[in-house]
Amino acid sequence: MSSERRCSWILAAVFSFLAVAWESSPRVLAGVAGKAEIRAPRGLPKVKAPPDNALEERKIELGMQLYFDPRLSGDNSVSCATCHDPRRGWSNGDAVATGIQGKRGARSSPTVLNSAYNVFQFWDGRAASLEEQVLGPIQNPLEMGMPSLAVLEEKLNAIPGYKVQFQKVFGEEVTAPNVAKAIAAFERTVLAGDSPYDRYLAGEKGALSTAARRGMEVFFNQGHCSACHAGPNFTDNAFHNIGIGVNGSTPDIGREAISKLEGDRGSFKTPTLRDIARTAPYMHDGSLKNLEAVIEHYNQGGIANPQLDEEIFPLQLTDQEKRDLITFLKEGLSSNSYPALEPPSLPE
């Protein structure tokens, strides 16, 4: 056999292996030596991982266990999934998050869906990566209430199943930074795409109903939605003031707390609209119960304040246009590949 033909056979074998692995997992394409490549659904770009946190199958599995494990909280009652629940759009269905001992925060739980593509994490963008984000809620006394990262490490190292897995994945016992890396790796697999809108763009003209197609036109034109909800993940990853929460007695200044720029007062990160029908209530404070209320908010031009974005202005949409827009959001952006994951068995 010539060397060229031998190479062809080897390549064919590799591709066959990859193809089998692709089909065997809905989300993760297993590669050589445990390395994994995330299979992005139609309409979404390739997922990139930071150089110091390469995607590996075992790491993703470990991260999934940690994500669903309430033992990461101070009183073993709250896991990441409590507030970012796959059954509730990877949010929690409440206006604001409820942490240990029923403590409540001031902001809604943002969805984890497609957070792999976020430039910033948290509503105010105070974390620049998923790895940076993970340890915040674990230590937040209103959320998971772990007294310290040292306590977290001690607690997880006392669970043999974790200790063994961390050794296999990271070559050392449990550390807080590696907890963050594992959970972040798992979260990068939580993707929602392949919606009727994506299939419509791909040429499947019947993928959207007539009303949804009209709503799509409103979305990208007179509804002005795509001024901020742009790109494959329907977010510009930027911060905008749309007037929500500005009139309270203690207004949430949002991004300004991080950037220290007056222009960012009352600004919050643009959320994805993928699977928006699953993530009610809406806005950073969960103050709008349904999409009808959201559209009405924008149609009226938001709530006036000195930092209101210039993209927010009265839209003068007709009732029909509003209905069509909501149809597009609900029908057009609901994912066929929604990751409805069940909690895994947790290590003892």
Binding site: V119, F220, N221, Q222, H224, C225, S226, A227, C228, A230, G231, P232, D236, N237, A238, F239, N241, R255, S259, L261, E262, G263, D264, R265, S267, P306, Q307, E310, E311, F313, L315
Partner: protein
């Protein structure tokens, strides 16, 4: 408002010219050397300079500032500053920091015709104006008035093509009989508008390329024509998102997007080709990280642009090369908030940058 009235009074009495001239002289010998590149301020005390164009023939530098368009004329002892056109209205850009702005983009249609992109009016009311300018500066007591244009085109009003109407005409590129203008009105579109010129007369200001639709990134900012005749546009991106600025290539005839390159820069606000080497340079305004604001050499690759930092700039805004390869750059600078009873600083400057190849 009071400050505006006071400023207009000063301009009427020629005081601004005097202040600008004195400041230019005082900075004439202050130099910053970055490697082999020499950066020299040639005008200062400017109020938010946002546009730079060099007049063919004279080599005079025209700069759009908040209250006026000024002309910098080289002399033996440095550059003298003259007010060329004054009386523009004022708009405010940003929500904090806020910048008072007037006319924005500048370009020459020919030796005698200066094109001015407006930024002083509301979206949907903004216009592009054409002024006749001579080979010599106007007398200090006789600047042109803003409404003394020879042509005016626009506005692009609120309507089906633009949900807000268009405004903030920041970048202007001229190719033969076509003028391309970057617009920042409807952020769902990010229009580049086009003006066809026939027999020296500009036609309508018409939406041409919806850059946001093409690139999925906000805000076309700078525009220029490449040595190969392509329309090159910088996409500014979101001011509070790092590294999202793009460099894009369009067919100027059809408007088709040909290349979309990531830059890793925050806010690519200005671009220009070196007239001798053909190398591309650009300015990152870096709204959210002003210490990263700088002039860069841009080397386009297949999917991204390699960037090399050349010189730090404090909120650089616009640039233009002279025919000998000297670069002139405007920068807003940073002002201290005035105490009660103090007058406000005007920290804007124009720099001459030599040594680029």
């Amino acid at each position: 408002m009071q400050r505006m009235v006071r400023l207009e009074k000063w301009v009427r009495h020629g005081m601004v010219v005097g202040i600008l001239f004195a400041a230019a002289m005082s900075f004439g010998h202050a130099r910053v050397t970055a490697g082999q590149t020499d950066v020299t301020p040639v005008a200062s005390n400017l109020d938010n300079p946002c546009g730079v164009a060099i007049q063919p023939g004279t080599g005079d530098i025209f700069v759009s500032t908040h209250p006026a368009i000024v002309r910098l004329v080289a002399g033996e002892e440095g550059y003298r500053t003259f007010v060329e056109i004054q009386g523009f209205a004022t708009d405010v850009y940003g929500k904090g920091p806020k910048y008072e702005i007037g006319p924005l983009g500048l370009a020459f249609l020919d030796k005698k015709t200066l094109i001015v992109g407006g930024g002083e009016n509301k979206d949907g009311e903004e216009v592009v104006r054409f002024y006749a300018v001579g080979a010599l500066p106007r007398k200090p007591s006789e600047p042109l008035l803003a409404d003394a244009m020879i042509h005016q085109v626009g506005p692009i009003k609120r309507g089906p093509a633009s949900a807000m109407g268009e405004g903030n005409f920041f970048g202007i590129a001229v190719q033969a009989s076509d003028i391309f203008v970057t617009c920042n009105g409807d952020d769902t579109k990010g229009w580049i508008a086009k003006i066809a010129v026939k027999d020296g007369c500009p036609g309508l200001l018409t939406p041409f390329i919806p850059t946001k639709v093409e690139t999925e990134v906000d805000a076309p900012a700078a525009a220029t024509i490449s040595p190969e005749g392509k329309l090159i546009v910088s996409q500014f991106g979101e001011i509070n998102v790092p590294g999202d600025a793009l460099l894009t290539y369009y067919d100027p005839k059809t408007g088709a997007l040909e290349r979309r390159l990531t830059t890793g820069l925050h806010d690519l606000i200005a671009i220009a080709f070196h007239p001798k080497s053909g190398k591309l340079y650009g300015i990152d305004f870096a709204w959210m990280a002003p210490d990263r604001g700088a002039l860069y050499l841009l080397e386009p690759g297949e999917e991204e642009v390699a960037t090399t930092r050349i010189a730090t700039l404090d909120k650089g805004t616009a640039m233009a090369f002279a025919s000998d390869g000297t670069l002139f750059v405007s920068a807003l600078g940073s002002a201290k908030e005035p105490m009660a009873g103090q007058t406000k600083d005007f920290p804007g400057k124009v720099f001459k940058i030599t040594g680029l190849d």
